[in-house]
């Protein structure tokens, strides 16, 4: 580890420690609820970018994993202890990611995108069918002692974990392999990289995170039904946030998450009926005007500045 890396790591640890005290602030109710959504989107968008950033395989299935995690908690609460449910949710996410990955990741990216596009809707149909035919109820109550404070800490912990994983991957052979794959898959194969396996590992990691986030968030809903847990907007929001920030840097998505989550609170309160339309418009603006994200913009500006000074 170099000195700069050690310094960054210490800074990050200090920032997380500081954020952990947030719920103790006076009158922190609103702040806490905003922070919960920021933390949630941070974990989702960052883990999304861990896979989609280097590989350019766009996953539109965050909601499927999130919903799966939430449903594991809803189905098991009362009979299985909550921490164990989080683990089970993670396992469920991993299994789903493996199934999707094994069928699609050895083929071109288009098949993967298509597969993920309808995945949330597919799982929604299956869950609804299981509930109608086996349990006989449409939704499920999630009644726990878990407060928003605890949810916040859990998400903060997950965020720390996702950054740690991302940092470790970036330093590893796997991270290097992914950068090569993102550049040229033919070259990757010819230097001896197993592209399908590398992609699969990252997709499973991002699937596990999304499922665990769903499980952590489940107590917040109290009543869970398929249409809540599998809303396509979630997948969409995650992609937007990761792209605004920039998916090719570990901390890129965070740059998108904070302003977007705040803006979203405002939009959802002001224009509740036009949310979908505004979301779509925001998305198009990003794709057309900042394809490499804000971080990409800043980096190219810095690069230009540096070159300018060198010349001068």
């Amino acid at each position: 580890m170099t000195r700069a890396e050690a310094r960054n790591l210490a800074l990050a640890a200090a920032a997380f420690a500081l954020l952990a005290f947030l719920p103790f602030l006076k009158d922190s109710g609103y702040l806490l609820s905003v922070s919960v959504s920021i933390a949630m989107y941070t974990v989702l968008a960052t883990s999304w970018a861990l896979f989609s950033g280097p590989t350019h395989y766009i996953s539109l299935a965050t909601a499927a994993f999130y919903g799966l995690g939430a449903y594991v908690v809803a189905a098991g609460i009362g009979t299985i202890s909550y921490p164990l449910l989080l683990v089970l949710a993670g396992i469920a996410g991993a299994v789903l990611a493996l199934a999707v990955g094994v069928t699609t990741l050895r083929l071109s990216g288009v098949y993967f995108v298509i597969f993920t596009l309808g995945l949330a809707e597919l799982i929604r149909q299956v869950v609804t069918w299981v509930q109608n035919n086996l349990t006989g109820s449409r939704g499920m109550y999630v009644l726990t002692e878990i407060t928003e404070r605890i949810i916040y800490w859990e998400l903060l912990g997950l965020a720390a974990l996702v950054y740690l994983v991302g940092w470790l991957v970036a330093r590893s052979r796997l991270g290097f392999a992914l950068r090569i794959i993102g550049n040229d898959e033919l070259v990757a194969a010819h230097v001896g990289i197993n592209s399908a396996a590398a992609k699969l590992i990252l997709f499973v990691i991002s699937g596990v995170f999304a499922a665990v986030v769903g499980a952590v968030m489940a107590p917040r809903y109290t009543y869970i039904e398929p249409s809540i847990a599998y809303s396509p907007e979630l997948s969409f929001q995650v992609v937007i946030m990761a792209l605004i920030g920039g998916a090719h840097r570990l901390w890129g998505p965070l740059v998108g998450v904070i302003p977007f989550a705040l803006l979203w609170e405002l939009i959802a309160a002001r224009f509740p009926t036009q949310t979908v339309l505004l979301l779509g418009v925001a998305f198009l603006l990003i794709v057309y005007f900042i394809p490499h994200g804000v971080v990409g913009r800043i980096e190219s500006a810095l690069e230009r500045l540096r070159r300018g000074t060198r010349r001068g």
């Binding site: 052979r173 090569i180 010819h190 990289i193």
Partner: protein, 239 residues
Amino acid sequence: MLDIQSVAKRFGGLLAVDQLSFAVRENEVLGLIGPNGSGKTTVLNLISGAFKPTAGDIYLDDRLITDRPARHIARAGVGRTFQLVRVLPSLTVLENVMAGAVFGHKRLWGREARKYAERQLERVGMAHAIGMPTAALTYIDEKRVELARALASDPRVLLLDEWLAGLNPTELQTGIALIRSLREEGRTVVLVEHVMDAIRSLCDRCVVMSGGVKIAEGTPAETLADREVIRAYLGDDDA
């Protein structure tokens, strides 16, 4: 070392390689020559595992590699360059070369991989470009970086696809010397090449292809004098 046995490759209705057989001996430089479109690059792609042959078998040290994926063939010690150079644009020059050292059959990591990659860059005469982004490279330098990447995997067999094409006379001499030195350290080289000077001075043997089939095999002097070969290159009228 390499044994190609009645290999064929069909693309849709086009038979690019037909019933081709030849062997590459250990520590030799073999030239694979022939007019444009005769299937030379396809043969390299079949050996390196980029394509699967439609029929026939390829052996590396008596081990069947016909149906192995490219990554296994690379790890078994086959390195290559591409006819249309493929450097990794978002990686630095050094990282490009490290790719070979990290995942090839050397599997180095960290400082070791970096140092090894630096040495390969020095060897191809690119020591000055170590920290440069690949976007700043000229076409010839890209070729050198690509060769350094192939060398970084410490290949036992090196497949070079028109690597000498486009070099000026001085560069050509350096390039020929470089390839000769590779053979001297015990590597086996298969060259697809159009530069006749290089073929004459480097190759122990040549395999000549035309229209997907082998039309001649032997020393450069023998094959280049072959009537069939001259006809393939120049057409019937001149033969």
